[in-house]
């Protein structure tokens, strides 16, 4: 079984900013975006724990130190508050910091600079300063890392005015949304699920950050269907797609919406879809209560889609307990594809 902080994916570096279409991993797509941004804009730099010679706990930044040197790939002491606070200070004075939090769980130590400073400065200072910074948060469970190294904390950030939050699920989106984040003049939190890093997919790399077609705040219908709408993001988009595939064999036709951005939320795409299908299921790995899924449900239940709803809205999200260590308990805490299949089948069968 893989270690929580496995670095099997070590040869991250590819052709200098090659734009050749290729199949690669999510981690490499992230790294390619970082390199593109670093090459395109001298003001971009990175900071984080063990992102240099170690290559980052998950190998994402492997090779970047060699390519860009110590001034721009900055290994830091174990000081999350200072790392993020430093990034805020750097962002408001003309540079463009990218911070890697080693595990998303450690952002608890940096909530002041993120929430009280980064998210609010533009507003509090009357629009007289921009805070163009990116905070990458590797999160999620399934690696046997237990309660303090497996959290999905995105609901907190999606609740904070002033922050933007993206949670790409595909190799291409990981690349494009990160580039979009890097040219955004606001603080952007990038939620990366650790289990996605080795996921493979097609990548059309962009030559410059500006070439990214991604728009923060746009969801995508990643599978069209007529019987019900399933909304997910990050890893759970894949679980939803897998479940939809399985149900297709049973003649159940599922539409899957990948949120991609969690703040601002593209409620319109979800509402549109529900107006067509009349049924909604939302899934994520974070605990159910007061999660992003609750917001999706509330947005729909308060919209014109309400009149099209044919059944109660279902959530298949994380169990209400901290992440356990033992594999069986961990698996039971995280919504699995089989759970989705069962819930989707039941929802499709609801009498209308």
């Amino acid at each position: 079984m893989p270690a929580a902080d496995s670095t099997d994916t070590v040869d991250t570096i590819e052709d200098p900013v090659s734009t050749e279409v290729r199949t690669t991993t999510y981690a490499k797509a992230v790294a390619a975006a970082l390199r593109t941004a670093m090459h395109a804009d001298e003001r971009v730099f990175m900071a984080g724990e063990d992102i240099g010679i170690y290559g980052g706990a998950f190998g994402v930044t492997d090779g970047l130190l060699q390519e860009f040197g110590e001034e721009r790939i900055r290994d830091t002491p174990i000081s999350e508050d200072a790392i993020v606070g430093m990034a805020v200070g750097a962002a408001i004075t003309g540079t463009r910091p990218i911070v890697e939090m080693q595990f998303s769980d450690f952002v608890v130590n940096a909530m002041d600079p993120l929430v009280n400073q980064a998210a609010k400065l533009y507003f509090m200072y009357g629009g007289n300063v921009e805070v163009p910074m990116v905070l990458r948060l590797p999160g999620g469970g399934g690696t046997g890392a237990a309660a303090q190294h497996s959290q999905s904390l995105e609901a907190w950030f999606a609740h904070v005015p002033g922050l933007k939050v993206v949670a790409p699920s595909t190799v291409q989106d990981a690349h494009d949304l990160l580039l979009a984040a890097l040219v955004d003049p606001n603080p952007v939190v990038v939620v990366e699920h650790k289990l996605l890093y080795k996921q493979e997919g097609a990548l059309t790399p962009r030559a410059t950050p500006e070439d990214s077609p991604a728009v923060i705040g746009e969801a995508a219908v990643v599978r069209e269907g007529t019987d019900l709408t399933v909304v997910g993001y990050s890893l759970n988009t894949h679980k939803a797609l897998d479940a939809a595939e399985e149900l297709a064999a049973e003649g159940i036709d599922v539409e899957v919406v990948d949120l991609r951005t969690l703040r601002p939320l593209d409620t319109e795409t979800v509402i549109e879809s529900v107006c067509r299908t009349g049924k909604l299921l939302v899934t994520h790995e974070a605990p159910t209560a007061v999660g992003v899924g609750a917001e999706v449900v509330a947005a729909v239940a308060g919209s014109r889609a309400f009149d099209h709803l044919l059944a109660p809205i279902v959530r298949v999200c994380g169990r209400e307990n901290p992440m356990p260590y033992a594999p069986a308990l961990e698996a039971a805490t995280i919504p699995q594809t089989a759970d989705l299949v069962a819930a989707m089948r039941a929802l499709a069968a609801e009498d209308v």
């Binding site: 003001r43 730099f45 001034e71 721009r72 900055r74 830091t76 002491p77 000081s79 508050d81 200072a82 790392i83 993020v84 606070g85 430093m86 990034a87 805020v88 200070g89 750097a90 962002a91 408001i92 004075t93 003309g94 540079t95 910091p97 002041d112 600079p113 009280n116 400073q117 400065l121 533009y122 507003f123 509090m124 200072y125 009357g126 629009g127 007289n128 300063v129 921009e130 805070v131 005015p161 002033g162 933007k164 040219v183 955004d184 003049p185 606001n186």
Partner: protein
């Protein structure tokens, strides 16, 4: 070269005028408050003017400051215009923050004032980042980071000093030790008994200054800033001073004696001391000194007058106020 040298007549005049401007500014706030024109809360630095003025005067144009919840003095000393400051405190559209920030968030980023901060020690790590930017952008500017004695017990203090030190960044950390957090005496909250003494933990010298002597502050900061500018890394300074007013409006001053306040006010007032010294050393005459006070009073009077007439912001600004656009 420092912006003004308080040991020279012209610099002394400027320093004195600025100290008076700060004091009159805050007295005007008290007046506005008592007349029900000011809402929210604010924190007055009356008695601490020598720190702000000595320190900011020792900077060069283009240098940055980060400030605190008790930041009016820092702003004015760094060159902020009292009128948009009043306007901000009055919640007006013409305020530095368009009325969105109030006392604890006055900033003037264009002039290098990275802002007050409502979070104790919240700006200390920001100062480190601003200093890193300078290095990355090839600028020789330094960052002066004001913080309080109470802030020295926050984790951010520790992380900021350590990071600035390992990266050898041009930050001058200046503790305004006014001897109390809110109600807690610095002696009781700060193990080891001295903020400057904590410099050694980061390989920094740590220097105590008489915070009620504008010249001592100016010299201390000038020395530290010059070293930082030359690439010799951060500095930790501690200026001993005192606030006459309560922590904020709700303070009943139960944690200290009236005698203590009176002693500081009568024996060590930074403005009175500076004036006496200037006269004694013959660097400014009585007329010049009275002129400084007069200039400050007029500046503040005019600023208040203009600010109270400024319009209030309308709700429609909120829509576009949260996110910057590309």
């Amino acid at each position: 070269m420092p912006r003004h040298d308080p040991t020279e007549p012209s610099g002394a005049l400027e320093a004195l005028t600025t100290m008076w401007t700060i004091r009159r500014f805050e007295e005007a706030l008290e007046d506005l408050y008592s007349r029900g024109m000011l809402h929210g809360t604010n924190h007055l630095s009356i008695g601490q003017e020598a720190v702000a003025v000595g320190a900011c005067g020792a900077l060069e144009d283009g240098d940055f400051i980060t400030s605190t919840h008790r930041g009016h003095g820092h702003s004015i000393a760094h060159g902020a215009d009292p009128e948009p400051m009043f306007a901000e405190l009055l919640g007006r559209e013409t305020g530095y923050c368009g009325g969105r920030g109030g006392s604890m968030h006055i900033a003037d980023v264009g002039s290098g004032n990275l802002g007050a901060n409502g979070i104790v020690a919240g700006s200390m790590t920001l100062a480190v980042g601003a200093a890193l930017s300078q290095r990355l952008l090839g600028s020789s500017a330094v960052v002066l980071c004001f913080f309080g004695d109470g802030a020295a017990n926050e984790g951010s203090f520790h992380e900021a000093l350590n990071l600035a030190a390992v990266w050898e960044l041009p930050v001058v950390f200046l503790c305004e030790n006014n001897q109390y957090g809110m109600s807690m005496a610095s002696d009781l909250s700060t193990a080891g008994g001295s903020v400057a003494g904590r410099g050694a933990a980061y390989g920094l010298e740590g220097v105590r200054l008489d915070g009620n002597d504008v010249i001592a502050v100016a010299e201390g900061v000038a020395t530290a800033a010059a070293a930082a500018r030359e690439g010799r890394g951060p500095a930790l300074l501690e200026a001993i001073t005192y606030r006459y007013r309560g922590h904020s409006k709700s303070d009943r001053n139960l944690y200290r004696t009236q005698d203590e306040i009176e002693e500081w006010r009568t024996e060590r007032d930074p403005i009175a001391r500076f004036e006496a010294r200037l006269l004694e050393e013959g660097r400014l005459d009585r007329e010049a000194i009275d002129g400084a006070r007069q200039t400050a009073r007029e500046r503040i009077r005019d600023a208040v007058k203009a600010a109270v007439q400024a319009p209030e912001p309308t709700v429609d600004v909120l829509e576009e106020a949260v996110y910057a656009r590309r």
